[in-house]
């Protein structure tokens, strides 16, 4: 770490902190190093090391029976075979690679990616719309605020495993959901069994559980907007849509994009809900198999191949996070303005919008 370079000169100063003013930066650098090191080290042990290990494992063969000889063979180097297994749906045989036969888990990568992407787009889309709506409703003075806040935190606090079991009961064929649908004249659906109903069952349960989080983050953003801005807009005769489009949306862009980023990454790694609610099944058996479920299904069949898949999942998620932060305005690491990134600090944005709103 670069702080060690500086620490040599500070060795003569008595105790860090006592003569802070003279050696402010060097002393702080050295102290910071010791304060931050345990966290970085521990995260290195629990994240970086397993990740590196997974990448190494992913280039080795799974041990198993060699179909040509019937003998148990140890792994050995697999080259890119494990990746080809998932990305190209190729299964390796002693005579070379062949397209995986139907029903082989290797052919499930692209469908799982599709299901995961579908969940992500639909869930996050609905959550943004509902979250904006909820946040707008909550963003005013009223009695019993604490009650509303507690009520909206309930879905968030319930463990996902319990949420899944709860919705499994609600979605049962004789359950309350089908009963309520019957009231409006819809025939009962097999929510946790059929292809599309099971997919929407996962989405409904996910939206129920996570819209509160979205709404609270958006609300936090809304509360940064000064009432003056709205007054000015109203005096200038702006319509409600114009006010929303030109004032609210630009001013909550950063918290909204941060919320969307976190939720997107959450749904991309979604596991508990589809796994417990539908077993990853539905329809022909894979209607709700997400990428994470596919990794877990593979693990007991061979963790070298599972490692390749989990590495692919990691890369997909890292790529999405990068795109969001770089191009989507999800400014999660907020640097001071002088550090030379192109984003303007939030304060400057506020000032700009305020002046344009008043200047209209």
């Amino acid at each position: 770490m670069s702080t060690t370079v500086q620490s040599a000169e500070t060795r003569t100063t008595s105790r860090p902190g006592r003569r802070r003013r003279r050696t402010a930066n060097t002393g702080q650098g050295r102290r910071a190093f010791f304060l931050v090191a345990p966290t970085v080290l521990l995260l290195g042990v629990v994240i970086v090391y397993p990740l590196a290990k997974a990448i190494i494992l992913s280039f080795q063969k799974d041990a198993g029976l060699d179909p040509s000889t019937g003998m148990f063979v140890e792994g050995g180097s697999a080259g890119l075979d494990n990746y080809k297994h998932w990305l190209l749906a190729q299964c390796s045989t002693p005579t070379g690679s062949i397209p995986c036969p139907p029903g082989n888990i290797g052919s499930l990568f692209w469908p799982s990616l599709g299901v995961t992407a579908f969940f992500t787009v639909v869930s996050v889309g609905i959550e943004v719309i509902l979250g904006l709506w909820f946040a707008t409703i909550m963003n005013r003075e009223f009695r019993g605020r604490g009650l509303i806040r507690a009520a909206i935190l309930v879905p968030w606090a319930i463990p996902t495993a319990v949420t899944a079991k709860l919705w499994f009961f609600i979605f049962a064929y004789n359950g309350i959901f089908n009963r309520l649908l019957g009231v409006v004249g819809v025939n009962p659906l097999i929510w946790t069994g059929d292809t599309w109903p099971s997919r929407f069952a996962v989405i409904i349960a996910d939206v129920w559980k996570t819209t509160p989080f979205m709404a609270l983050l958006i609300l936090a953003g809304l509360q940064l907007i000064s009432a003056d801005v709205y007054e000015a807009a109203e005096i200038d005769g702006a319509s409600r849509w114009q006010t929303f489009r030109r004032i609210t949306l630009p001013m909550i862009k950063v918290p909204l994009m941060v919320a969307v980023l976190f939720r997107t990454l959450d749904v991309l790694r979604i596991f508990d809900l589809p796994y417990i609610l539908t077993g990853g099944g539905g329809g022909s058996g894979h209607a709700t198999t997400t990428l994470s479920i596919l990794v877990i299904k593979q693990i007991r069949e061979g963790f070298h191949s599972a490692s390749a898949l989990s590495t692919i999942v990691f890369l997909i998620i890292a790529l999405v996070a990068f795109l969001f932060i770089r191009f989507g305005g999800a400014d999660v690491v907020q640097r001071p303005p002088k550090s030379g990134r192109d984003e303007k600090p939030a304060l400057a944005k506020t000032a700009t919008v305020e002046s344009t709103a008043e200047g209209n």
Binding site: R31, L43, I152, P159, K165, F169, V258, D272
Partner: protein, 299 residues
């Protein structure tokens, strides 16, 4: 960083000044909206509680209030004759949750202090690394750790560390960035003031800073504990029959007959697992909301 008015603080918020003609209509709509939010949050939870207290023979009775009330489901939930060990699972979840929280707090508090208080080279690299860690997919840990843990013999018996270590991977980043957000809003100048008034550094810390930081520390600990208590993916792979936490126990609850879901008992178990969290949420909702949004909104 600019201090934000978090939704947790009850400062006056934006109120539109409606035209008088429409003001009553707007009020009606606003309260209808608030009612909708309450129903959204509570209705499925209410259904879980109603079912938890309903006789198993009336599982699919859709009467919307408490009928055929019984405590049998709670007895069934704790019964061990069908291979469910729910009481043990509660203990396990508490052990894993508390140890994970304490570890993450002990380590994370120093990093958060450094990031929010000190200037040092590589600060944003560290912050980026920690945020990256919080976005890391847990499933990518499973296959390498599965291999390591099984070769170390951690996948049998009372090896709680096989659950606690992987949980650190999400609890520690969460702790660091929530605490960083709290710390950067603290009036640190008071430390200097206390020193000038004759406090030693230790006294300034104990008597001035600690009481100020306590709400933030406490909120962060609650968030970390809830995240560990609710974890399922890693636990479902690394828990043994002995260390199984509640999430895994509930997901695998077996009834009297195979293939017949013991709905009412599962709802009872779910209620037991959830009610402590709901109480935490009711008591500390303001602090929890500010902790939840602290990572996202820094102005």
């Amino acid at each position: 960083m600019v201090t934000a008015t978090l939704p947790g603080t009850d400062r006056p918020t934006v109120t539109h000044e409606p035209h008088h003609k429409t003001s009553r209509w707007r009020d009606v709509r606003a309260y209808a909206g608030l009612l909708l939010i309450v129903v959204w949050g509570l209705a499925p939870f209410y259904w879980m509680i109603v079912t938890a207290f309903r006789d198993v023979g009336y599982t699919f009775d859709t009467t919307p209030w408490f009928t055929h009330v019984t405590l049998d489901n709670f007895r069934t939930a704790f019964a061990t004759d069908r291979g469910n060990h729910f009481a043990q699972a509660l203990v396990n979840s508490a052990i894993v949750g508390i140890v994970t929280t304490v570890l993450a707090m002990l380590v994370g508090v120093f990093a958060a202090y450094a990031i929010s208080r000190l200037q040092f080279v590589g600060k944003y690299l560290v912050l980026g690394f920690i945020l990256g860690a919080s976005m890391f997919p847990g499933v990518a840990l499973v296959s390498p750790l599965f291999q390591l843990f099984s070769s170390w013999g951690w996948l049998t018996g009372y090896n709680y560390q096989a659950l606690i270590l992987p949980d650190i991977s999400f609890a520690l980043p969460l702790t660091v960035y929530t605490l960083t957000a709290f710390f950067s809003e603290m009036p640190w100048d008071l430390e200097e003031a206390a020193r000038i008034d004759g406090c030693t550094q230790g006294q300034a810390f104990r008597k001035v800073l600690l009481p100020l930081a306590a709400p933030g520390l406490f909120t962060t600990a609650i968030l970390a504990f809830i995240s560990a208590w609710n974890e399922y993916l890693l636990a479902s792979q690394f828990a043994t029959a002995k260390t199984q936490p509640v999430t895994v126990a509930i997901a695998g609850f077996t009834g009297a007959q195979p293939h017949q879901e013991p709905y009412t008992a599962v709802m009872a178990a779910g209620a037991i697992v959830t009610v402590p969290l709901i109480i935490l949420v009711l008591v500390f909702q303001r602090a929890i909301v500010s902790g939840l949004t602290a990572g996202g909104v820094k102005g």
